[in-house]
């Protein structure tokens, strides 16, 4: 439904040209909820704005549906007002001189097809009902709360039933509690309407909970793309592992590329030998970084001294987090963090045995 091919975009700044988007390729299926996730300045919003037609890319192609809306080779540029899109801006961009009804009716009044007053009334009422703003139609737009403005912006974006919905950090201006509720509602709504959605955020929780597919961006490129589960559990680069969730990193060297279990190899680290999931085509001697999530590390009462992936560590600090107990350990010079049940009997200063399941240890090329 949205296809972006080899997109490049430059910005002219005071300090010269900045290569903001460096060859993005994306293919979003009909009805999919697709998220661009990355730190600020990674080019995600610029990519979204290129789809909207608010930026002029240097190179590449963009399709919305079957329509070619931008192509550098064919010199095609469809202006934003002729693209079949709806968009929610980070600031919401609610027009303060219009009331709620007129804000939502605006896109309908700008369409080539002319609607009767009755039709406009019905469509606006329907859109407002979808976002639960019934009864506020006559309210001047500035007299809305942050959450109401966000929903108004959404109603305006979907009122003409566009094929594609573009959302630019729509939740970042809401407070934490409201953001959590809205996440679910928003996904539910676009899924019910079946609109293909391109979502941009820097919040990993939003990306993981709402998306069908997440693309992690860094410095103008997509680093990894996949389902939220894949992204979280099988990061392919250190940047991804670091950006999503808390992670332990252990530096090491491949000791042997294959073991009896398929895909598992041996890595020598400063804390001892670990069995890890190795990327394809690794050879012994290559430098790697072993990544393991805190919640995947188990503290075991006792284990055979020679058992695989068992390390001896000392508890440096315990931090009570309410739903979990974060445990900071040192294994030799290496620092590790694990998450324990809050009722866990571990004490500070205690020496414990840590078990790192081989399938949860992922070695990445350093």
């Amino acid at each position: 439904m949205i296809r972006i091919k080899n997109l490049h975009l430059f910005y002219q700044t005071e300090r010269g040209r900045v290569h903001a988007v460096r060859g993005i390729d994306v293919d979003i299926q009909q009805g999919q909820f697709f998220t661009l996730l990355g730190p600020s300045g990674c080019g995600k919003t610029t990519t979204l704005r290129s789809v909207a037609g608010l930026e002029m890319p240097e190179q590449g192609q963009i399709f919305v549906g079957d329509d070619l809306v931008f192509s550098s080779t064919e010199k095609t540029f469809v202006p934003p007002y002729d693209r079949d899109i709806g968009m929610v801006f980070q600031s919401y961009a609610i027009w303060p001189h219009l009331n709620v009804f007129e804000n939502v009716a605006f896109p309908l009044r700008e369409m080539r097809r002319k609607f009767s007053r009755r039709q406009i009334g019905d469509k606006v009422a329907h859109a407002l009902a979808l976002v639960q703003l019934e009864g506020l139609a006559d309210r001047p737009a500035p007299f809305l709360s942050g959450g109401q403005q966000q929903r108004l912006a959404l109603a305006r974006a979907i009122v003409k039933e566009p094929r594609v919905l573009l959302l630019d950090e729509p939740l970042s201006n809401l407070d934490a509690k409201l953001r959590e509720e809205t996440r679910f509602e928003l996904r539910e709504l676009v899924k019910r309407l079946g609109i293909t959605t391109l979502y941009v955020t820097h919040d990993q929780l939003e990306a993981l909970t709402m998306s069908d597919t997440v693309a992690i961006m860094d410095q103008g490129r997509i680093v990894q793309q996949g389902t939220p589960v894949e992204i979280y559990q099988a990061p392919r680069e250190k940047f991804v592992a670091n950006f999503i969730g808390l992670t332990n990193f252990l530096e090491g060297q491949v000791a042997s590329a294959g073991t009896s279990v398929a895909g598992i190899g041996e890595v020598m680290t400063a804390s001892g030998k670990l069995h890890c999931v190795l990327p394809d085509g690794m050879a012994a001697g290559e430098k790697v970084i072993v990544v393991i999530r805190p919640e995947d590390i188990n503290i075991v009462a006792d284990a055979a001294p020679a058992a695989d992936n068992v390390l001896r560590g000392k508890v440096d600090a315990l931090i009570f987090m309410g739903d979990a107990l974060e445990c900071q350990l040192s294994v030799g010079a290496q620092k590790l963090r694990t998450k324990l049940h809050p009722a866990s009997p571990v004490r500070q200063g205690q020496t414990v045995l840590l078990q790192l399941p081989a399938e949860s240890c992922r070695a990445l090329r350093a």
């Binding site: 002219q12 909207a52 037609g53 608010l54 930026e55 002029m56 540029f77 202006p79 934003p80 007002y81 002729d82 693209r83 899109i85 709806g86 968009m87 801006f89 980070q90 600031s91 919401y92 961009a93 609610i94 027009w95 303060p96 001189h97 605006f106 896109p107 700008e110 369409m111 001047p140 500035p142 942050g146 403005q149 912006a153 305006r156 003409k160 573009l166 201006n173």
Partner: protein, 572 residues
């Protein structure tokens, strides 16, 4: 993406502003070296330092410096101390009736300086002043007690006139001060007085200095007050001296000398503006406005609350009510006399009838309407496009354009008048000199800095996403302009338009220089001339009507300004 197409008009705007600012300045500088007596005879062959030598060896010039210094310093000190007191009273104490002060003090801006000075002459001149006459008969004195035609009179009146602007600049400073800064000093063991000295005043200092410099510039540039109060007594300050050289009744004017004198005036103005802008940008580091909602602690005045109210009422009485009453009263008199039962009995409408019949009034009124409408429209249009380039485009010269548009701010109206006088006489192939257009063009340039500043600030507030939201909602550029951009900008456009009207009507300096005869005589010149010729009651009648009109317009501006606050996009 749309900017490529706009490049041509951006260059056009740039060149236009460049011409409007640098042409008059260039002629001003060249003219100061011209040895020809008249601008029309100017040529590059007759250049020399004669004017400079003549002006700066004249002992009168040093008296001029001294007078100007006393006048500026005195009025700034008086004005600022009143404004600080007023601002402190309304912001940081529990005095009663604050809402009336917020409403009343800015109203004093509506009274033109020229009229205020004239009203005070009616009240305090040694010969006809009502107050002087009453005091004389009360105490049986031979000599009048107060002479308004003096440096003291100028200081008093200009001091009063500086109050509203200074007040409006100081209120946000006082309001923006986070009380926790003072509370932190208190819990660190500082007593109230040392908190005031070490924290409050230190925090206020940069802002206060900036306000003082700004006000000193205003006092330096004002022509009307020294023109009405100083000229008749031969007490000159810079602005009146330059006027006197050009518009001397007794000897043939030497325009080059006016230019030479204007140079030092211009120099002072440019240097202070430079320091002022430096101070403002440095002051931003001192910014203490945190955007948090808090109520500053209020100082309990106790019984002094009513004394404070009395002070405020006295100020408002002196600044608006008394001059207005004096004018209104004088406008009904057949001849000037102090208020008495007899005088009230002799009230007549003949001055108003005279206005209706006197041909020059009708033509001046027509000229004024044309002049202010043209000036306001040109200023709004030009500032709009200039700000559009400055704020919204990627035009290479936008910073330079910003500075060019700000430059006229440093040029006193009288000097700008002289500069344009040279331009219009030199480019005589365009029949501008002697028309209302001459005045309109001069004013447009002089209001350009205000126009672009407010316009840019307002444009910055119209978040770009508001327009982008219209594009992605399917609106074409001109529809976006009409349905989103213009409605959002409208309060600003109207606000600037009315502001320009208000100022163009009452400023007399620049029109007096460019005035040539009845065909470009505007209201301010007519009043000036009638006053000069001694038609005091008739002037009072025009003045009364003008004050009422300006008061109405000022209220309108306040209303528009109020609307604007509602319309601001509330970004979360």
């Amino acid at each position: 993406m749309f900017s490529l197409r706009l490049n041509l008009w951006q260059h056009g705007i740039f060149l236009l502003v460049l011409a409007l600012v640098s042409l008059p300045l260039g002629f001003l500088i060249l003219g100061s070296f011209s040895t020809a007596r008249l601008p029309g005879d100017f040529s590059l062959d007759t250049m020399g330092l004669v004017n400079y030598i003549k002006v700066y060896t004249d002992p009168g010039t040093y008296e001029l410096f001294t007078n100007t210094c006393i006048y500026v310093t005195g009025s700034v000190l008086l004005g600022i101390s009143m404004a600080v007191t007023l601002a402190w009273l309304v912001e940081r104490t529990n005095m009663p009736g604050k809402i009336w002060i917020y409403a009343g003090v800015p109203m004093t801006l509506a009274v033109p300086g020229m009229l205020q000075a004239m009203a005070w002459v009616i009240l305090l001149s040694p010969r006809i002043g009502f107050i002087n006459k009453s005091l004389q008969s009360l105490f049986n004195l031979d000599e009048p007690l107060i002479d308004i035609y003096s440096l003291g009179g100028m200081v008093f009146l200009e001091g009063l006139r500086l109050v509203p602007t200074a007040f409006l600049m100081l209120v946000p400073l006082m309001r923006g001060m986070d009380p926790s800064l003072e509370e932190a000093a208190a819990v660190s063991g500082a007593r109230p007085f040392s908190t005031l000295r070490k924290i409050t005043l230190r925090l206020l200092a940069p802002g206060l200095v900036a306000v003082m410099i700004y006000q000193a510039m205003t006092a330096l540039e004002v022509f009307e007050i020294p023109g009405i109060l100083g000229l008749p007594a031969g007490i000159h300050v810079f602005s009146t001296k330059i006027y006197a050289i050009v518009r001397s009744a007794t000897f043939l004017p030497v325009y080059g000398q006016a230019n030479a004198l204007a140079m030092v005036y211009l120099f002072i103005a440019v240097v202070t503006t430079f320091f002022y802008t430096r101070l403002i940008s440095r002051g931003e580091r001192f910014t203490i406005i945190t955007g948090k909602a808090y109520r500053p602690r209020q100082f309990d005045l106790g019984q002094w609350r009513f004394a404070a109210l009395g002070f405020v009422v006295l100020y408002l009485f002196l600044a608006i009510l008394l001059p207005f009453l004096a004018f209104a009263y004088a406008s009904f008199l057949a001849f000037l006399q102090p208020p008495s039962l007899e005088a009230f009995r002799g009230f007549t409408l003949k001055n108003y009838r005279f206005l209706a019949q006197y041909g020059e009034v009708a033509s001046a009124l027509k000229n004024t309407v044309v002049m202010v409408v043209v000036t306001a429209t040109m200023t709004v249009a030009l500032s709009f496009f200039v700000s559009l380039v400055i704020v919204r485009s990627k035009f290479w010269g936008r910073k330079l354009l910003d500075q060019l548009a700000f430059m006229p701010h440093a040029i006193p109206g009288i000097v700008l008048g002289i500069a344009f006088f040279w331009v219009f006489l030199k480019i005589d192939f365009l029949p501008i000199y002697g028309t209302v257009w001459a005045i309109s063009i001069g004013f447009t340039v002089s209001f350009l800095s205000y126009g672009t500043r407010s316009m840019s600030a307002s444009l910055l507030q119209v978040h770009k996403e508001l327009e982008e939201a219209a594009y992605v909602s399917g609106a074409r550029p001109w529809r976006t302009m009409r349905r989103v951009f213009l409605p959002l900008m409208m309060p600003t456009l109207v606000g600037i338009w009315i502001w320009v009207v208000l100022h163009a009507v009452r400023i007399a300096g620049l029109p007096l220089i460019l005035y040539e005869g009845q065909q470009n005589q505007v209201l301010s010149i007519l009043i000036w001339n009638m006053w000069d010729e001694g038609y005091v009651p008739a002037v009072a009648a025009i003045g009364t009507l003008l004050m009422l009109t300006l008061l109405f317009l000022t209220l309108l501006v306040r209303y528009v300004g109020f609307r604007r606050q509602i319309v601001q996009p509330p970004l979360v």
